[in-house]
């Protein structure tokens, strides 16, 4: 695990209850600055809850979440942490351009950044389209573009590539890689294991617990497997055996 000073996001003993059930069990994790960290695990394992805690909209039971040295959700983080929810949070009755203009004004980003954000998500030519007429994948990209406008140093992206064309998905992962190269910290969730290989750091999650936190290469080596799905299975089996014992 990297030293605390190198991590953009630190989570310590984080527990969250929802509807009387514990959904996150005293999580400890670090997200290294300037990297793409993949949060992988099956649907319902607590990925979204963890991300909500990182952006500061989740009521937490106990523990600490620190982002860029500040408690998660602190007012001074609100234009420094970009959050893209799993369900696209955009206005269906506005055009792509209008959605971006509104979020640019809210985030205090110059309108001049809009064409670049549109190009990054591959929506050139769709500026004047009413958002609710777009496909699900296009909708998700509008939502992603709104978070890129003010170029925040931390991006929390909840399943940003679901339902996307493979070519576009590849392009987005390259974009994420490029952003990390510029020093941006990305926490990206996915339930698709083949996306895990694109991440610099992996957090494997299951039933509200982090099972592994390491690089894809280290995970493969430690588990003696050749692909990450196998590695994830190996980690789960190891954990279950430990529990039985």
């Amino acid at each position: 695990m990297p030293a605390a000073s190198d991590s953009a996001i630190q989570v310590r003993r984080l527990s969250v209850d929802r509807g009387g059930t514990r959904v996150l069990h005293a999580l400890d994790l670090d997200v290294p600055a300037g990297s793409v960290t993949g949060l992988l695990g099956p649907s319902g394992c607590g990925k979204t809850t963890l991300m909500r805690a990182v952006v500061g909209v989740q009521i937490v039971r106990s523990g600490e979440v620190t982002v860029l040295g500040r408690p998660a959700g602190a007012p001074e983080l609100r234009d420094r942490v970009g959050y893209v929810t799993q369900a696209p949070a955009v206005y269906g009755d506005l055009t792509v351009k209008e959605n971006l203009l509104y979020f640019a004004r809210v985030l205090g980003a110059p309108a001049g950044r809009i064409p670049q954000a549109i190009a990054t998500v591959g929506l050139g030519g769709f500026e004047g389209r009413i958002v609710h007429r777009l496909s699900g994948g296009q909708l998700a990209r509008v939502s992603l573009a709104t978070a890129l406008l003010n170029e925040p140093p931390v991006l929390v992206l909840d399943e940003p590539t679901v339902g996307l064309d493979p070519v576009l998905r590849e392009e987005l992962w390259q974009t994420f890689d490029g952003l990390a190269g510029q020093g941006v910290t990305l926490l990206v969730s996915s339930h698709v294991m083949d996306e895990a290989a694109r991440c610099h750091q992996l957090l494997l999650m299951r039933d509200g617990r982090i099972l592994a936190s390491e690089t894809p290469e280290a995970l493969l080596e430690r588990t003696g497997t050749t692909d990450l799905s196998q590695a994830f299975l190996a980690v789960i089996h190891a954990q279950e055996e430990e529990r039985v014992r």
Binding site: A89, Y91, Y102
Partner: protein, 245 residues
């Protein structure tokens, strides 16, 4: 609160309204049509019609703005855009005042159109100037809007939001004195009427209609109306939570 974001939010709500010309048409056309209907229902009783015309000019925008804003705000809550906005520098008051400005302007327009029809075509004549009646009617619209924003916090679905209209608005209308003078009601109902905001909004219009002057009692009624509007907006801000379970 940031003026830039408040204004951006008001502009965004206008953009959304512009995409919905049918709603705008209904907002502007329904009140004068109902006024005309009332005029011919009270065909031989022009005195009665004349007495209730001015207060009715306030009732329509009150009801319609209550309904429109409670549903619009509920949509913001359920579509995920509210959660997204709560992670940005947008302040709760930016959102509420943004809506307040946009729907307040619509309320003024609506009252103006209805008043022009009433004074110009339906031969309504009051002791007060048309300008004063329009101003007070617009005050009713803003009150309805503020209450609508507040109650939207307690509705989980649009069905529920619609039901709040008969639950919250009808009793206030019945008790305001529009149908039966409050002095003729059971004593307990008079007390109840004294604590309901619409009573004061009604009184202001009924008083200027009868006396034609903006006296201290009208000023008191107006002060109560404005006070309740601000209170409802403040309570509405309390119901907007950055952190949720």
């Amino acid at each position: 609160m940031t003026p830039r974001i408040t204004v951006a939010t008001a502009v965004r709500v206008f953009w959304q309204l512009r995409r919905d010309p049918r709603t705008i048409a209904l907002l502007l056309v329904v009140p004068p049509v109902l006024m005309t209907l009332l005029r011919y229902i009270l065909n031989g009783q022009s005195e009665t019609f004349n007495r209730i015309a001015a207060p009715m000019l306030g009732m329509f925008p009150f009801i319609i703005m209550f309904l429109v804003t409670s549903i619009t705000m509920l949509r913001e809550r359920t579509s995920g855009t509210l959660e997204r906005l709560m992670t940005t520098p947008l302040g709760k008051l930016d959102l509420l005042l943004g809506y307040g400005i946009a729907f307040g302007v619509m309320g003024v327009l609506q009252s103006t159109v209805a008043a022009l029809v009433a004074f110009g075509l339906l031969d309504v004549h009051t002791q007060a100037s048309a300008g004063l009646v329009i101003l007070l009617a617009a005050g009713n619209a803003v009150l309805g809007m503020a209450l609508g924003l507040f109650v939207s916090a307690f509705a989980r679905s649009e069905f529920q939001a619609v039901q709040f209209m008969p639950a919250m608005v009808f009793p206030q209308m019945l008790l305001s004195g529009l149908f039966v003078p409050r002095d003729d009601m059971a004593r307990a109902l008079q007390w109840l009427a004294d604590v309901l905001p619409l009573t004061y909004a009604y009184d202001a219009l009924a008083r200027v209609e009868a006396s034609g002057s903006f006296d201290s009692r009208v000023a008191r009624d107006l002060a109560v109306t404005i006070g309740v509007t601000l209170l409802a907006l403040a309570l509405g801000a309390l119901t907007l939570r950055r952190r949720t379970a």
